[in-house]
Amino acid sequence: MIGMAEPTLTEQLGAAPPTGVAALDPVHQRDLADALRSARRRQAAALAKAGDDALKFVPTLLRPAVRKAVGL
């Protein structure tokens, strides 16, 4: 969304980072925040793709039960 700031390292970790990391140049703290956010996004993308693809492997008769268990 335009104008929405990306989450900081503190926001992603849920609390201030360890002292030696908090003392880093803000540019480097932002780089760590970017790397963590990218890792989360890769994981979310893998999960979304797996959710779409997995049902194709499930035998037709079991699909309703699997859909319900997964919450689809």
Partner: protein, 201 residues
């Protein structure tokens, strides 16, 4: 390898970036880097936990041969590693027994052994041997060290057989638990111990 260098390499692995990108961390105390890595690991493993738990729950409805096929073709190593700690240990080990050693080595690289120790403890020894051999072939000493930190002694002995003497100092530097270094010394055959650099003996 300094403790900081070892921590930077391990953090880079968790974040999925090259260690060279994190060079600016070289002066941060190793204890702070370790805390950052552990907290980043928690963030990643807890993200999407609800969806992963529902997937693990749904897997109870399916036969293990089908789940093994789905793990390799649909989930991939990243999600398989996230789900491994959420399925019942015996079933997880049964599925692992049907996976290729190359795929399991990929999963091992993404796994947090603390969260999957139930499954790891129940893996059939031939599976552990195959994965240890594959990780050694790849020279993935970060993953090897992570497992030495968490494996029972019998499986450490098995894994050590595949680590060449020349790589032992690197594996030792990458261990999280200093106590495990003493354990590795204890478990190494005398002739291999004698071949180690003096500071590791």
């Amino acid at each position: 390898m300094t403790p900081q260098e070892a921590e930077v390499r391990k953090l880079a692995r968790v974040l999925g970036v090259g260690a060279e990108r994190l060079e600016y961390l070289s002066d941060v105390p190793a204890a702070d880097l370790r805390e950052l890595r552990e907290r980043a690991t928690t963030v990643l493993f807890d993200a999407h936990l609800g969806a992963l738990e529902r997937m693990a729950g749904a897997s109870k409805l399916l036969p293990t041969p089908l789940l093994a096929k789905m793990a390799e073709r649909v989930f991939g190593p990243l999600l398989a590693a996230r789900i491994a700690g959420l399925v019942e240990a015996s079933r997880g080990a049964e599925i692992a027994g049907r996976l290729t050693s190359a795929f399991l080595a990929d999963v091992a690289a993404e796994l947090d052994p603390r969260r999957a120790n139930g499954v790891i403890a129940k893996l059939p020894p031939p599976v552990v041997v195959a994965v240890a051999r594959e990780l050694a072939r790849r020279r993935d000493w970060i993953t090897v060290a992570r497992f030495v930190d968490h494996l029972p002694d019998s499986l450490i002995v098995t894994s050590l057989e595949f680590i060449p003497d020349a790589a032992l100092p690197e594996v030792a530097a990458l261990l999280d638990e200093p106590a495990k270094l003493a354990k590795v010394r204890e478990l190494l055959p005398a002739e291999r111990l004698a071949a180690l650099p003096e500071q590791l003996r």
